[in-house]
C-alpha cells in the first residue's frame, strides 16, 4: 500500500507540473512530463505481469517437481478402484456365505419345531394317562429316533453358526481398504484445492454453465442415503414414504 501511495504522490506532482506547463504555454516541457507519466504506468503493468508469470512458473514447477499428481492419476486412483472392487467382492461373498448357512439351518429349525410339537402332544397324552402300552412303545421309538437325528441337526446348526461368525471377517479387511481410500480422497481434495487456488490467482473463473450440472443431471439416481448427509428433497424413513404416498391418495 505504501508503495502505491508513493507512486500516486509522484503522479500527482507530475500532473500538477504538467498543468502548470500547459498554462504557461510550454508545450514541449508538457509533452515530456506526459511521456514520463505514461512510462511510469507501463512499468507498473509490466511489474505486475512479471510477478504473475513468476508465480505461475513457480507453482507449475512445484507441481511437476513432486510429481504427486502423476502418481495420483496413474497409480493411486486405478489402485483405489481395484481395492474398492475387491470390497464389493468380499462383502458379496460374505453375504452369500451367511445366506447359505441360514438357508441350511432354517429347514433344520423348522423340522425340530415340528417334531417337538408332535412329541409334546404325545407326552401330554401319556401324562393324562390316555396312552395305550403299545402306543407308548411306539412313542419311545420315536423319541429315540428324535434324539439320534436332532444330535446331528444341532451339530450342523452349530457348524452353520460358526460359518456365519467366520463370514464376518470381511469387515476387518474392507474396513482397512476403505480407510486407505478415504485417505487418498482427502489427498486428491487437497491437490484440487491447490489447483483451484492457482487458477483463481491467474484470474480463471469456473464456467457457470458447468456449475449446476450435477444438480440437473436427472439420469444419475440418488442412491442410498447416508446418515448425516440427508438433504431436503429426501424422505428419511419408511414412515415419511408412507405419509408422502398417503398424501398422494395411496
Amino acid at each position: 500500500m505504501s508503495e502505491n501511495n508513493h507512486v500516486n504522490e509522484q503522479e500527482l506532482a507530475l500532473a500538477k507540473e504538467y498543468v502548470s506547463m500547459l498554462e504557461s504555454g510550454n508545450a514541449e516541457a508538457a509533452d515530456n512530463i506526459l511521456a514520463e507519466i505514461t512510462d511510469m504506468r507501463e512499468s507498473q503493468l509490466f511489474n505486475e505481469l512479471g510477478r504473475l508469470t513468476r508465480d505461475f512458473h513457480e507453482t507449475l514447477n512445484s507441481f511437476s517437481s513432486d510429481d504427486r499428481f502423476e502418481t495420483l492419476a496413474k497409480d493411486d486412483i486405478p489402485d483405489a478402484r481395484e481395492r474398492l472392487n475387491f470390497v464389493i467382492t468380499k462383502t458379496s461373498e460374505a453375504a452369500h456365505k451367511t445366506l447359505n448357512s441360514v438357508e441350511e439351518s432354517l429347514p433344520l429349525c423348522e423340522a425340530l419345531e415340528d417334531t417337538l410339537k408332535k412329541l409334546d402332544e404325545e407326552w401330554e397324552k401319556f401324562l393324562s394317562k390316555e396312552m395305550k402300552p403299545q402306543e407308548f412303545r411306539e412313542l419311545s421309538i420315536v423319541i429315540k429316533e428324535f434324539f439320534n437325528a436332532s444330535g446331528g441337526d444341532v451339530k450342523a446348526m452349530r457348524g452353520n453358526l460358526n460359518d456365519i461368525l467366520m463370514a464376518q471377517d470381511f469387515q476387518d479387511i474392507t474396513g482397512q481398504i476403505i480407510t486407505k481410500v478415504i485417505t487418498l480422497v482427502s489427498e486428491v481434495e487437497t491437490s484440487l484445492v491447490e489447483l483451484v487456488k492457482l487458477g483463481s490467482k491467474l484470474g480463471m473463473k469456473p464456467d457457470s454453465s458447468e456449475k449446476n450440472k450435477k444438480a440437473e443431471d436427472k439420469d444419475v439416481l440418488a442412491g442410498p442415503q447416508v446418515p448425516g448427509l440427508e438433504s431436503e428433497t429426501i424422505v428419511a424413513t419408511q414412515d415419511d414414504v408412507d405419509d408422502l404416498l398417503s398424501s398422494l391418495g395411496f
Binding site: S92, L221, G223, L244
Partner: protein, 130 residues
Amino acid sequence: MNKDMKILVVDDFSTMRRIIKNLLRDLGFTNTSDADDGQTALPMLKSGSYDFLVTDWNMPGMTGIDLLKAVRADPDLASLPVLMVTAEQKKEQIVEAAQAGVNGYIVKPFTAVTLKEKIDKIFERIDAAK
C-alpha cells in the same frame, strides 16, 4: 391372500434377491422366482402368469421404474400388483413411482415386518376393490 401366488423378485444384487425370497418364504410365500433386471424380468412376466412383482429401482439394463411403466402399458400385465423395494428415497422419485402406478414402496434398508405390512396392505386393497 393366496399364499401359493406366483411372485417375481427383481434386483440386480443376488444377495438382496435371496434375502427377499427368504423373507417371503418365512411369510408363507414359497412360489417365487427371480430376475436380475427389467430386461430379464419382462419376458418372464409376459409368459409366466405371475400374481405379484417385487422390484428394485436402480438396475443396469432396464430399471425398476421402466419395468413398472412397461408392465402398466401392457394390457395383459396392467393390473399386476407391483411393490418397489429400493434405496431411492427422493421425494420426486416416490411421486414418479406413484404416478407410474406402483402399489407399494419400501425403502432399503427394510425389515421383515415392513415387508409383511406392505404386502398385506396391497392385497387388502385389491380384495376390497373386487
